[in-house]
Symmetry: C2
Subunit: 404 residues, 2 copies
């Protein structure tokens, strides 16, 4: 992932002007391990936007944000790991509300300005009071350079740090952009299972922020798969402090550049999630062309989610029949289908049939850290690209013993 030329990286942990972040421990992940991250914007003219997954089993914090927050004016975030507060019913809603109100009190803001988020085990009641108690110490941890500590506090099975801080040169001046994510398992192309918090000191209307966030999520977190499993807690929030004094006008050159930077930022973090997929050792990148939008999307998702493709990727097995299987399983009833397959640029299948290729070269090519797959369907309609992790012994180990 390369950033556009007008984007440069800032020191890790740096927040845009107008933001403070910190972390405390409520003992959800063990004694004194930070597991509650807090983010707050101190500027008066804050705007925001948020996106959530659409699972039929939405976690209490997601429902609470949708019901109790002014999503266009979120100023603070309180996010815990170690407990998803999902499938917890009315009590779960009450605990989430307790955390929201407790954080509002600790930060001196209105509860409707506080987004809550949780990640961890499903079906266990959240000890809201313990989180509220821990928040009494949060003031001392808040700092304009603590985005990394915030990001660390929301990790579950994540092994890589998932945060970035950028400086973006817009035609009207320089603004800063940062984001912190978590996500390693239960990652699906239907809104990856993750939390993502984005901050900027640009001034942008809530409507335009919402539009940009929606488009960037569609091109990043909706394009990755660890295991094809949709979570109950997905949340993405962008908060704009306006503290840079640079205003991003609708449809301006500023907005186009800002959107490109946001796209690149979220795609980088999304790919990091795949790379850090539970037990993952390798990344697959599938591009499907031809057909129509529905067909290319469906085939790319099926390949990205296939345990047979993922295990072959894991083993460096040049078994492209797994790709053919996923194509056929998706486009049922279309046989004989004339599709082409390339692995790392080496064509192995043309018009639906195996062709001769340099097997030794292919065996070498599929050993790479990232393996590129290309599928071409009949027609010229569309392109879909997805990123996915392999399926390894590590994934089995992590998930066979998640709660025990």
């Amino acid at each position: 992932m390369d950033f556009p030329s007008f984007v440069s990286e800032r020191e890790a942990g740096a927040l845009p002007a107008g933001f403070l972040a910190g972390a405390v421990s409520a003992g959800l992940k063990g004694e004194d391990i930070p597991d509650v991250g807090v983010l707050v914007c101190t500027s008066p003219g804050v705007t925001s936007a948020a996106r959530f997954c659409d699972s039929g089993v939405l976690a209490a914090p997601v429902l609470l944000c949708q019901q109790e927050c002014d999503l266009a004016a979120i100023r603070a975030v309180v996010a815990n790991s170690g407990n998803a507060n999902a499938a917890t019913g009315e009590l779960g809603m009450t605990q989430a509300r307790l955390v929201q109100v407790g954080a509002a009190n600790a930060l001196g803001v209105d509860p409707s300005e506080v987004a809550v988020a949780s990640t961890g085990v499903i079906g266990v009641q959240l000890p809201g009071e313990r989180i509220v108690d821990s928040l009494s110490g949060v003031g001392a941890t808040l700092d304009a350079h603590n985005a990394d500590q915030f990001a660390a506090a929301i990790k579950t099975t994540d092994t890589l740090d998932k945060h970035a801080a950028l400086s973006v040169e817009l035609p009207s001046g320089t603004v800063n952009l940062s984001a912190q994510c978590k996500g390693a398992g239960m990652i699906s192309p239907h809104f990856a299972t993750m939390l993502c918090f984005v901050e900027t000191d640009a001034a942008i209307s809530a409507e335009r922020a919402d539009m940009l966030l929606g488009a960037s999520v569609e091109r990043s977190f909706n394009r990755i798969s660890v295991d094809g499993q949709l979570s109950t807690n997905d949340t993405a929030v962008v908060i704009a402090s306006g503290a840079s004094g640079i205003e991003i006008a609708p449809d301006s050159e500023d907005e186009r550049h800002f959107a490109q930077a946001l796209d690149a930022l979220l795609l980088q973090l999304a790919i990091l999630m795949v790379k850090d997929g539970e037990g993952a050792a390798r990344v697959g990148r599938i591009q499907v062309t031809g057909g129509d939008e529905q067909a290319t999307e469906a085939v790319a998702r099926a390949i990205a989610n296939s345990p047979l493709v993922k295990t072959a990727l894991h083993g460096g097995d040049p078994n492209w029949g797994r790709i053919a299987q996923a194509i056929g399983a998706t486009l049922r009833g279309t046989a004989p289908l004339e599709f082409n397959i390339k692995l790392e640029g080496i064509q192995v299948c043309r018009a639906g049939a195996a062709i001769d290729f340099d097997r030794a070269a292919l065996v070498r090519a599929v050993q790479r850290d990232e393996v590129r797959y290309e599928v071409n369907l009949p027609g010229t309609g569309s392109v879909a690209e997805y990123f996915f992790s392999d399926l390894s012994h590590g994934y089995v180990t992590i998930n066979a013993e998640y709660t025990t």
Copy 2:
């Protein structure tokens, strides 16, 4: 799986009257390892029916059967393991035709009476001539008690034998029924990825045989999942020799009993496939009630296919949040959804919320060889039941190195 009271098991390998089976080696799986199974019906009044999967990437033998066989009058089967003859184009079709004609010559029947089937690696040309050469020796292997040898020849990653021979007492007299299957990986609830050949000495019209086969497949092979992956080669064939002299009339009591026996036979073999799923150690049984047919089917499939549910089953982890996740991911946009979950009869979730339960009892219960999950959705419309295997290190090992 219990058989109906009027069904009893015969010795392993026994075929109904009018059938012979045998196996030869074409060297597809190694020197002198039987890898080509042959079945032939010697009775004059043969009838048959066949079902195939509907993948967009159908294997050449499936396309050939559909194009060249009289599916109501199949008398012989030639099935090889070690090579799927899928994604092999026109050359693959020619090789399949070569095998069909070669088998017809060896058995003295018409090519249109010979069903061909292949299973194994996708995307590698089938050495048809080697199979035809091997068939010159098939006559000496044909025997009325060799169904087990036929079944062994079509195994790929299967470790269990998958065949059964039954005696069925119908009101009009006793008929025999036998079946041989293969299937361990690429097993999905959309027609499990398998080959299945069924023989009977009952006399039944091709139309009724087709109807009964369709219904039984729907209730057996369409209700199991190893890895949710649809194959390119699925084939189920039933052949009736009529040699018992017992005629099964449409809508008769005979037909109802025969249908029950066929259902029980195919379900037993289907569950055996799950038990023998690649790397599988344990079987999950999910029953979803309530809602409507579409919802119960979709939720049961999602649970049966979920790698998170499968790894939890593998590890004996009582993590029912994985079930909640799969429900929510399937019924998107319905939150808050009031569903109930039981594991081994222990209720853990009521109206969408965690409840107190005896955790020690649950931990013990999920250690069993078969674990029963029950999900209840709002409404009273429907019931769906699926069987699935766990996801283990063995699955990863087998599929990471399938062709290498």
